[in-house]
């Protein structure tokens, strides 16, 4: 049950558009983690993890699960490098449709 309730169906469509559209699978080159990625431009990147991928990531495993100070929230450098690789290989299209 949603707590903030939209009053129109188009809002639900926007929600889907902004959070789900155009995500493409990218696998980490160093571990089993597979994430979904979107790039609106060279410098913009969205990375959508799943619980499964989060558990597969060796880097996060090492850092431990419990959020402590400020450092535990940093991205995994291996996964980021893997995404850069995928982008170079043309596996992740770059560019936005209409703000998403």
């Amino acid at each position: 049950m949603a707590s903030f309730v939209p009053t129109s169906d188009e809002t639900l469509e926007d929600l889907r558009r902004y959070t789900e559209d155009r995500l493409v699978d990218v696998a980490c080159l160093d571990c089993l983690a597979q994430v979904r990625v979107k790039k609106n431009s060279d410098h913009q990147t969205s990375v959508q993890w799943s619980a499964e991928a989060r558990a597969d990531c060796q880097e996060f495993q090492r850092r431990g699960q419990a959020p402590g100070g400020r450092d535990v929230h940093k991205p995994c450098s291996r996964l980021m490098a893997s995404i850069d690789d995928a982008v170079r290989a043309g596996a992740v299209p770059i560019g936005a449709y209409d703000g998403y």
């Binding site: 707590s3 929600l15 609106n40 431009s41 060279d42 969205s46 959020p67 991205p75 703000g99």
Partner: protein, 384 residues
């Protein structure tokens, strides 16, 4: 059918968020007197018992509705001003001095508490679960010691906005330029589990008088994490002409009604080496002032905007929809938390285009100002 986009204002939730909420500095409640705190659609009573423990109960006595915040602390208990029923921190009525026995059902709403970093936190859950200590914000090493200035703590009531407006700031890159007068040069978000983090680097605008996020001489590196729905720790590194100061800003709130909340913020500054106490206190005061101004800049916007369920975004905007999806987890039953609400999500905003435009605009503003000053000087009567 029309192409005009409609604002979907939606409906606000009827419940308050589940999670740890900060009520203020623990020391402010530790005087053996009852304190009133508005929160969660009611009034809470907070007091420290003789045993030193801080307690939070619903503020209204279950006997005849007396206002416990106007009562008296007697021993470990809070005594109602109406007929002197004595309530314990565990929510049970411990004694009715004029009665033979206490009714078995004499239990009121109590809230579990923890003191963390010198602040009193309470657990709120509409489902009535036991407090989850795993979800507490981390302890801040060295804060509350000699190495940091003591918390400078402030409270502000906000009316006419749901507290989600405050949360939206986490993903809002562009408002830092327009509302807080800074160039956000780097901007990232990570949402993960019950935390939501904003990483930002910014530089003050030279065409404004500073305020909030500093002037042209200062650059800021900021890491700000919400631990649950209402408690943010913001680690700030301010570089002012090469002089670096570490500031910790707590930004937290208590919802009071469906469209009102109490904003609280506290600042503690790592004392720079070699500076005396007075100078350290002065620096802390300046930062408190400027971040306080920053909140007022936001408040001015909130007080006049409407709620929007369907924000329309451009490519330079942050991940507002994902942030709200994360925030939703605190408003549904635990059993209804969907995986996507807590799944990790990372987002980097492309600030290139925005900063190109902003720098040109600022240069233009400075040129206009210089021209206006030159004109005013030429028009002024010669002062012999």
């Amino acid at each position: 059918m029309t192409d005009t986009r409609m604002l979907d204002q939606g409906t606000q939730p009827i419940r308050f968020a589940r999670g740890w909420h900060c009520l203020g500095l623990a020391s402010d409640f530790a005087d053996g007197k009852p304190h009133a705190v508005q929160g969660f659609g009611t009034k809470l009573v907070v007091w420290q018992g003789g045993n030193g423990e801080l307690n939070v109960l619903d503020g209204y006595c279950r006997h005849m509705g007396g206002d416990l915040t106007q009562g008296e602390v007697k021993g470990d208990h809070i005594a109602c001003p109406f007929h002197d029923w004595r309530w314990g921190g565990d929510g049970k009525c411990k004694e009715i001095p004029y009665a033979r026995r206490v009714p078995l059902r004499a239990r009121t709403q109590r809230y579990e508490t923890v003191v963390r970093n010198g602040q009193l936190l309470m657990w709120h859950d509409p489902e009535g679960s036991a407090a989850d200590h795993e979800l507490l914000p981390p302890e801040l090493p060295d804060v509350m010691t000699d190495k940091y200035t003591p918390w400078s703590w402030h409270t502000k009531e906000i009316n006419g906005s749901h507290c989600r407006e405050l949360i939206d700031n986490v993903a809002d890159m562009a408002h830092f330029y327009y509302v807080h007068f800074a160039f956000p040069t780097s901007f990232r978000n990570i949402f993960d589990g019950h935390t939501a983090t904003q990483f930002m680097e910014s530089k003050g605008r030279p065409d404004t008088m500073g305020g909030g996020y500093g002037d042209e001489n200062s650059t800021l590196k900021s890491v700000a994490t919400y631990y649950g729905p209402s408690y943010m720790i913001n680690w700030l590194e301010v570089d002012y002409k090469g002089f670096i100061t570490e500031v910790i800003l707590i930004n937290c709130h208590i919802p009071t009604g469906p469209t009102s909340f109490t904003l609280q913020y506290g600042i503690s500054v790592r004392k720079p080496e070699g500076l005396d106490e007075k100078t350290c206190a002065y620096i802390a005061e300046r930062y408190t002032e400027s971040f306080g101004d920053g909140f007022l800049q936001d408040v001015a916007i909130w007080e006049n905007k409407v709620a929007v369920q369907n924000p329309l975004l451009c490519e330079e905007d942050g991940p507002v929809y994902q942030l709200r999806r994360w925030y939703e987890q605190f408003y549904v039953d635990v059993a209804d938390i969907a995986p996507e609400m807590t799944d990790r999500f990372e987002f980097e905003v492309d600030t290139t285009k925005a900063n190109e435009y902003w720098h040109a605009e600022v240069a233009d503003n400075l040129a206009k100002r210089a021209a206006a000053e030159a004109d005013a000087e030429a028009a002024a009567p010669a002062d012999a």
